[in-house]
Amino acid sequence: MTDNNIILRTENLHKSFGKLEVLKGISTAIHKGEVVSIIGPSGGGKSTFLRCLNLLEEPTDGKVYFKEQDITDRKGSIAKFRQSIGMVFQNFNVFPNMTVLDNVILAPTLEKKVPKAQAREEAMALLTRVGLADKADEYPRKLSGGQKQRLAIVRAMAMHPEVMLFDEPTSALDPEMVKEVLSVIEDLTRSGMTVLIVTHEMGFAREVSDRVLFICDGVIKEEGGPDQIFTCPRDPATIKFLSMVL
């Protein structure tokens, strides 16, 4: 089962918190350039699944492969893998103790030894792309939620990741800011970035995804193309979930 086009793959992934089994065996593969949306009821294990992919949570059982390298075997440096796996959080988690620009160049200069001038130049280009160039020297406390989230996306992109994980990137935003963030993400998907996104924005998921995973009770209950999932879901749980959110 080797395929050069697979960026991330999980094999029978399990995660328990104490006695609570949150992931009950998830096997899937994300291909290069693919945009995959994860939908499902709250508490179903979507975030936990995403966080297992870059080992922010350590799986209780099963494997995670990044480009067919087992990253759960504790052999390679986890930090190294994480440099190639960008992640964007619901709560932005930008670093408040440094400027917008420093947020972006921190990891490239520290971990990839990119010269400061070059890192700055690249960062400015990215910030310009998301409309934050004029905020480069501000501290994050001066930014709106939408701006913070765009910064968080740029911070991850600055490491040139091979895949981006988004965990409900717009759930903490005021409604008027959802669009600006979604359009940045859409931009990314168009540029060929491999994206895995947990979202409650069903319209967005349907529009940008190549594939949709419905995760519920710690398993992938159903998966398929966006049109199939949203127009003729097969699993009763999917039908019930979609009837509640659509």
């Binding site: 440099q83 796996i85 992640m87 709560n91 988690n93 670093f95 990891a107 968080a152």
Partner: protein, 220 residues
């Protein structure tokens, strides 16, 4: 009152010297205690079970026994342990005070680090920072805001705590009082002077601390 003025005229330099000793002893204690406390805090938060256990025991013992007892312990024990160094009383007391302070300061540091949002750790790790860089560039700079005011508090209580060192006549403010009192037999008056000096220093420092705290919250 006359007697106090008379005392001051004659012995003020001695009190000043004592105050200097107190401030010096406290400052060095807090600075060294912070370095040691940082180390203990990191052990405690680290992954190695044995180190964690040792750090826990260290803190519990130091917090569960009287400071004065610890001062005696080092005063008696250190010269026996390291006879070739021929340590002075002051050096022994300084080590004891530092070790004592490190237990409290390690808790301050741990709490300060613990108060940093979990999301900051996750974000810092997710962009591929090494664990060291996560700590030095993201967590500690934010934790300092929580730690600094508490450390200043620790400095203030250390100033009072160093008075215990007078038991060993190491030349701080209470030692000055003892010297003056035994030379003049004006027990109460000479004590009052020391008390006023202690209070002036700690009161001023805690007001400054309030200012610092306000500064730190404004910049949030």
């Amino acid at each position: 009152m006359d007697k106090i003025i008379g005392l001051l005229e004659k012995y003020f330099p001695m009190y000043l010297e004592g105050l200097w000793g107190t401030l010096w002893l406290s400052a060095v204690t807090v600075v060294l205690g912070t370095v040691l406390g940082m180390f203990v805090a990191l052990l405690r938060m680290g992954k190695v079970k044995v180190f964690k256990w040792i750090a826990d025991a260290y803190i519990e013992v130091l917090r569960g026994t009287p400071t004065l007892l610890q001062l005696y312990f080092f005063w008696i024990g250190l010269p026996k342990l390291l006879p070739f160094l021929s340590l002075s009383d002051t050096a022994c007391i300084l080590v004891a005070m530092t070790v004592n302070a490190s237990a409290y300061i390690s808790e301050i540091i741990r709490a300060g680090i613990g108060a940093v949002d979990r999301g900051q750790w996750e974000a810092a790790r997710s962009i591929g920072l090494s664990e060291t860089h996560v700590m030095t560039h993201v967590i500690l700079p934010q934790a300092v805001k929580n730690i600094l005011p508490a450390l200043c508090n620790e400095f203030i209580s250390t100033i009072k705590g160093t008075s215990l060192a007078s038991v060993f006549f190491v030349g701080e403010l209470m030692t000055a009082y003892k010297t003056v009192a035994s030379a003049t037999f004006l027990q109460m008056q000479s004590l009052l002077i020391a008390g006023v000096i202690y209070f002036t220093i700690t009161f001023t420092l805690s007001k400054l601390l309030k200012l610092l705290e306000r500064r730190l919250t404004v910049s949030d």
